[in-house]
C-alpha cells in the first residue's frame, strides 16, 4: 500500500445511518490514502448509494466521524463536501447536454474577469484543453457540445471535471455501466491515471473484473453491514463473491 506518512485523505469512523427505524448503514469504517483506489462492492440495496451520499454531503450520518486529511469535518451539504475537496461523478454524469465541454467543466464555478464579472471564456477553454490533454480524454475540442459526444467521451468529461476540482477525493458511481468494451477500457485508463495525482478514488462498480483491474483495495457491503476490506492483490474473485452474497463459494 501507500507508504507515505501523510494522513489518509478520507477516514470514515463507525458511520451509522438510519432512516426512522430502518438502519441503512451500520458501523462502517474506511480509510483512503492519497493515490489509492478503493472499490466499494455489494449487491443492490447493500447501502452503497447511501454511503456515497454520506461522503458527498447529501445525507448526514446518524453517528460516526468523517475525517479529511485527519481533520474532522461536518459534511452538512453537497456544497460543503465540494469545499472539502470531494467531487462526485454521478451515474447520470450531471452534464448539461447543450452546453460546451468547457462550460460543463466549469459549471457553477465559472471563471470571470473584469469589474462586470464577465465570463473568462479564454481561460476556461485553455484550462479545459490542458486538462483533456493531460487525462487523454479524446474530444474534438473544448467547444464541442456534450450531446455531440459519445458515451465514453461524456464520461471522460465528467471525470475530467471531477479531477479538476477534487483536491482530496473523487467518488465514481458506476463509471462504465453504460459503455461498450473499447470505451470502458479508455475510461479505465483515465481512472488508473488518477493515482498519479495523489488524490483518493472511491469507485462503485458492479463489474468485479473492473474492480480487480483498477483497485488497490476492495470493501464489501452487505445489507448495510461492512463485511470486510481486502487488499486486491491478496484476494480473488471467489472470496469477494462469497463476501457479497454471504454464501460460501469455495
Amino acid at each position: 500500500m501507500n507508504q507515505s506518512p501523510t494522513a489518509p485523505v478520507l477516514a470514515l469512523g463507525n458511520i451509522r445511518k438510519s432512516f426512522g427505524g430502518v438502519v441503512a448503514i451500520e458501523d462502517f469504517s474506511l480509510t483512503i490514502a492519497p493515490g489509492e483506489i478503493v472499490a466499494l462492492v455489494g449487491d443492490n440495496g447493500a447501502g452503497k448509494s447511501t454511503l456515497i451520499k454520506i461522503i458527498s454531503g447529501v445525507y448526514v450520518p446518524t453517528s460516526g466521524s468523517i475525517l479529511i486529511d485527519g481533520e474532522p469535518v461536518a459534511m452538512s451539504s453537497a456544497t460543503k463536501a465540494r469545499e472539502n475537496g470531494i467531487e462526485v461523478v454521478y451515474q447520470d454524469l450531471a452534464l448539461a447536454e447543450q452546453q460546451s465541454v468547457y462550460m460543463n467543466l466549469f459549471l457553477g464555478r465559472e471563471m470571470t474577469k473584469g469589474p462586470l464579472g464577465q465570463l473568462d471564456r479564454k481561460s476556461m477553454i485553455a484550462e479545459t484543453q490542458r486538462l483533456v490533454d493531460e487525462l487523454d480524454v479524446r474530444i474534438p475540442s473544448p467547444h464541442a457540445t456534450i450531446r455531440d459526444l459519445s458515451g465514453g467521451q461524456r464520461q471522460g468529461v465528467a471525470i475530467a471535471r471531477a479531477t479538476h476540482w477534487a483536491k482530496k477525493l473523487i467518488l465514481l458511481d458506476e463509471p462504465t455501466a453504460a459503455l461498450g468494451v473499447a470505451e470502458t477500457a479508455k475510461v479505465e485508463a483515465i481512472i488508473a491515471a488518477l493515482k498519479a495525482r495523489n488524490i483518493g478514488v472511491l469507485i462503485i462498480s458492479h463489474s468485479l473484473d473492473q474492480v480487480f483491474r483498477l483497485s488497490d483495495r476492495i470493501c464489501v457491503l452487505r445489507r448495510g453491514k461492512q463485511i470486510g476490506i481486502r487488499t486486491t492483490a491478496a484476494t480473488d474473485k471467489n472470496e469477494i463473491v462469497s463476501m457479497i452474497t454471504g454464501l460460501n463459494a469455495s
Binding site: L95, Q98, Q99, L107, R109, L119, D136, R138, D148
Partner: protein
C-alpha cells in the same frame, strides 16, 4: 499530441457542424432578409421602403422586443411565462393611475408603479414555480387570465390618459440626437440583455438550469433562485413594455399587450431559443421581433383584411418555427 478522436468522425467534422449551425441559428436572419426583400419588391409603390415607414416598424416592435428579452431568459431556464401580455396591461394601468393620482410625483412614481407591478407579477409566478414547484406553463396560464381580469377591474374597462410630458417623452414620442426614445430603449435593453445572458455567470446558470436542472444543482447552482430571477426579469421587461405602450399612446387601457403573446413567443422561437430550455439568443429574439414587425406592416400595406392578415401571419410563423425547430427536436 494525442491522436484525434476516431469514435465519431461524422459528428465532429466541420461540415456537419456547419450545416447544423446554419439551419438553426441563421433561419431568423434569412427569414428577415427574405421577408424584407419580398415586401420591398411587392410594395415598392406603397411606401414600404420610406424611412418613415421603417422607423414606424421599429417603434411598433419596441414593446414586443422588450418582452421577448424577458421570455428568452424564462425559456432558456426551462420555464415559460404566458402572463407577459396581461402584465403589460396591469403595469401600464398602474403607471397611469399612479401618475393621475399624484401628478406632482409624475415620472418617477409612474415608472416605479409600472415596473413594480411587473416585478410583483413576476414574483408571484416565480415563487409558485421555483419554490412550490408548480409547472410554469400552468401557473402562468392561470396568472395570465387572473391579471387580465385585474387589468379590466382596475379601471372598470376605462382608458386612463397619461399627461405627464416627461413620461410620454421618455417612453413615447421623445428622441435623443434625433433617435426616437423607443429605439433607444430597444437598443439599451437588447445590449444589457445580451451582455447578461451571454457574458455573465448568471446567464450561464440560466442555461444550465434549463438544460439539466439536476446537473446545475449538483454543481452548486441555486436552481430555485435562478428560476425565480428569470420570472422577475420577465415581469420587469413586460412592465417596461407597458410603460412604452402607455408613453407612446399617451394612455393606458386593459387591452394593451393583449395580442402580443403569440408574436413574442414566435419571435423568440424563430430567433433560436429552445422551448425546452438550455439554449437561447437575445439578438435572435430582436431580429425575430423585427421580422414579425415587418410582416405585420407589409401585410397591412398589401391591403389584406384583418382576418387574412391573421391567417397569413399564422402560416408564416408556423413555417419559420418548423424550420428552426426541425434540427433540435430530432
Amino acid at each position: 499530441m494525442s491522436p484525434p478522436s476516431t469514435t465519431h468522425p461524422a459528428e465532429s467534422s466541420p461540415l456537419a457542424r456547419l450545416s447544423r449551425i446554419n439551419l438553426q441559428q441563421y433561419v431568423v436572419y434569412v427569414g428577415f432578409v427574405a421577408i424584407f426583400v419580398f415586401f420591398a419588391i411587392v410594395l415598392r409603390d406603397s411606401g414600404f421602403l420610406t424611412s418613415r415607414n421603417l422607423v414606424n416598424i421599429a417603434l411598433q416592435t419596441a414593446p414586443a422586443t422588450i418582452m421577448a428579452i424577458g421570455l428568452v431568459f424564462a425559456l432558456s431556464a426551462g420555464d415559460i411565462d404566458l402572463s407577459i401580455g396581461s402584465t403589460v396591461a396591469v403595469s401600464a394601468l398602474c403607471a397611469a393611475m399612479a401618475m393621475a393620482a399624484m401628478p406632482e410625483a409624475g415620472l418617477l412614481l409612474g415608472v416605479a408603479a409600472g415596473i413594480g407591478a411587473g416585478l410583483a407579477i413576476g414574483l408571484v409566478n416565480g415563487l409558485l414555480v421555483a419554490y412550490l414547484r408548480l409547472p410554469s406553463f400552468l401557473v402562468t396560464l392561470a396568472t395570465m387570465g387572473l391579471f387580465a381580469g385585474v387589468a379590466r377591474s382596475l379601471t372598470q374597462l376605462r382608458s386612463i390618459p397619461v399627461t405627464d410630458s416627461m413620461f410620454t417623452g421618455l417612453f413615447g414620442s421623445g428622441s435623443l440626437f434625433g433617435i426616437p426614445s423607443l429605439v433607444i430603449w430597444t437598443v439599451v435593453a437588447v445590449g444589457i440583455g445580451h451582455f447578461v445572458f451571454r457574458q455573465t455567470r448568471f446567464g450561464a446558470h440560466v442555461l444550465a438550469t434549463g438544460d439539466n436542472p439536476r446537473a446545475a444543482m449538483v454543481t452548486g447552482i441555486k436552481v430555485p433562485r435562478i428560476r425565480l430571477t428569470v420570472f422577475l426579469i420577465s415581469g420587469a421587461m413586460a412592465g417596461l413594455a407597458g410603460l412604452l405602450y402607455s408613453g407612446r399612446l399617451q394612455a393606458a387601457k386593459y387591452t394593451l399587450g393583449e395580442t402580443d403573446l403569440m408574436t413574442v413567443i414566435a419571435a423568440v422561437i424563430v430567433g433560436g431559443t429552445l422551448l425546452n430550455g438550455g439554449k437561447g439568443s437575445i439578438i435572435g429574439a430582436l431580429v425575430g421581433s423585427l421580422m414579425m414587425g415587418l410582416l405585420n406592416n407589409g401585410l397591412i400595406l398589401m391591403g389584406l383584411s384583418v382576418s387574412d392578415q391573421m391567417i397569413v401571419r399564422g402560416l408564416i410563423i408556423l413555417a419559420a418555427v418548423a424550420v428552426s425547430l426541425r434540427e433540435t427536436t430530432r
